[in-house]
């Protein structure tokens, strides 16, 4: 059995050298992942009312926070299907605190408060409270996810559609629209905010802005966008000097048309349903005949190619 003397001095020197070389790395790793290592991330107040887990619990879960959020999300699904709408709130609060980057949870949290709980409330004060609560939740979501256009859009939509604050909503639509992956409807909603309140000083620059966005003639969505924006621009150019009451009436009609719910199966290119041209009701895609009235759903075109008779209708947005 060999047993040599250990050169402890030299080895200690080597270890000190290695450890000194590692010091800059930790600083760099912290900078690269601020959402995990930002010192303020746990001390920041994350909830309007303290119903979720405490910061200490969140910290103690370490890397298992995402898993804990997922398990609570499953619980939220059960509670939702059980119809306990008020019980959803603490669960959603806990989920978003455990995983502030869980976009769907934030969206449901904000929507549930601003729409469902608002509708469930009986007094105006309560309704106002839950609407503000939903908006605040979405504001926190945007703060936690400033690089996610869907989150910014969600806040804009709630302000536009539910809180009726179009100028504030316009700020968020514009911000969401700056992301390359944002959709053309976000651009159009930006100018619709000003359209709704007849703010012509902002409407025409917003229409000009929308005209210059999504202008690729090879993309069908962009072509559709250009048609809608051109139509709106021409219409408002023509009617901007009409009497105020007339313009207001038109806006109200437009708004009513835009807000009217379009049945899901009438959205263009839906992959699930064909719509019968006789009775107007949906049947599963690929059906030979309408499941309601029995009319044939497929017919042969002039070239002998099979075509569906399903109609599609464009949303007014």
């Amino acid at each position: 059995m060999r047993h040599r003397r250990t050169p402890i001095g030299s080895l200690a020197l080597l270890m000190v050298g290695i450890l000194l070389m590692l010091i800059p790395l930790q600083e760099s790793i912290h900078k690269a992942r601020p959402h995990l290592f930002d010192p303020d991330r746990k001390t920041r107040r994350v909830s309007a009312i303290s119903i979720g887990p405490t910061p200490a619990v969140i910290a103690a879960l370490g890397g298992f926070r995402t898993l804990a959020a997922d398990l609570l999300w499953l619980k939220a699904e059960h509670v939702w299907h059980g119809g306990s709408w008020w019980a959803m709130l603490p669960i959603l609060d806990a989920v978003t605190q455990l995983d502030p980057h869980f976009i769907l949870a934030w969206q449901v949290y904000g929507w549930h408060s601003a729409y469902n709980l608002h509708a469930e409330s009986e007094t105006i004060v309560d309704k106002r409270y839950w609407l503000d609560y939903g908006v605040k939740a979405l504001e926190r979501a945007v703060e936690a996810n400033p690089d996610n256009w869907e989150m910014i859009f969600e806040l804009g939509w709630t302000l536009y559609d539910r809180a009726h604050k179009p100028w504030r909503a316009a700020e968020y639509f514009y911000r969401a629209d700056q992301f390359p992956e944002s959709k053309s409807y976000v651009t159009r909603l930006y100018y619709r905010c000003f359209e709704r309140v007849l703010d012509f000083d902002r409407l025409f620059p917003a229409l000009e802005y929308a005209k210059n966005r999504h202008a690729d003639p090879t993309v069908s969505d962009d072509v559709q966008h250009q048609v809608i924006v051109t139509r709106d621009m021409e219409w408002w150019t023509q009617h901007k000097d009409d009497p105020m009451e007339h313009r207001r009436q038109i806006v109200l009609e437009n708004t009513a048309r835009a807000d009217r719910a379009v049945p899901f199966y009438l959205y263009p290119d839906n992959p699930y349903w064909d719509v019968c041209s006789i009775c107007g009701l949906p049947s599963p895609k690929g059906s030979e005949v309408c499941s309601v009235c029995g009319a044939p759903l497929k017919r042969l075109s002039r070239g002998g190619v099979e075509e569906t008779t399903g109609v599609s209708r464009q949303s007014n947005l």
């Binding site: 060999r2 080597l14 930790q26 995402t66």
Partner: protein, 297 residues
Amino acid sequence: MTAQLAFLIGLVVAIVALALTRKQWGPAAGHAIPSIWRIAKITVAEARRRRVIQAVVILVVVILVSMTFFSYLSPHEQSRMLISGGLSAITVFGILLAIFIAAFLIPQELESRTVYAILAKPVRRFEFVLGKYVGALIILAAIVVVMTVVLVGVLLIQDQLVQDLPDSAFNPNLEAVIFAAVMNYFAVAILTGLIILISTVASTTMTVISAFIIWAVGSLQSTIHDLAEHADIAVTKLLLLVVYNVLPKLENFDYRHEVSNYMPINVGSGIEAIVQGAGYTIVVLILASIFFNDRQV
């Protein structure tokens, strides 16, 4: 600037130390590699005979496959759940297996006295320690690969089975999942080195307990850093800073959060974490060799 200076000083010190000891490690290096490899192979062969490892791997596979039964969720939620749960299973069972494999490697040899037969041959003690470490790394690599392959397979199958909706698509995020699993393996490798270090001086029970504590604390290092920064009492601050600087920063290797939320992955920070972990493990293995060399066997 301070960090760059520390790096430069460290580099100079390490080069000086290597130059001073070149007569000792130079000739030994050629002999060491075959010896380390032989011991590693024996370690792997011993581990293959342990039924408990196979049972745990089968359990993980069953857990991963059973996670496909969330069909009532939307496609996006399903993929998120599968990724988050799958990576957590790989992390937990990877660490558990690392603890129960590494904690027994050296103490078992000492208890069964087989170490006498090995060290009677021309095998140096540091070669024995490194051989055990390399053997453990091979076993753990095989286990992590099996678990990752199963997770990727489940994600791919679900991607085919789950029908996407217009506003919710199943996204297996495969590249990021594989990256997270690889990073998890490096965390396991660092912890294994540390467990071997502890096992050279402590009993098996003590090693297992220490390993669990190190895992828990190592996974909360940023919290410990925050606590140290906000501590008012000087002694507490010092204690927390010692813990922060001495124990491995395992959360640097944890990418579950980014992958589950489909956030962009910063590969550069992963590489930096690996380099940092490698440096840390070298120091730990040097210490383990010193302790084992000085141990009366």
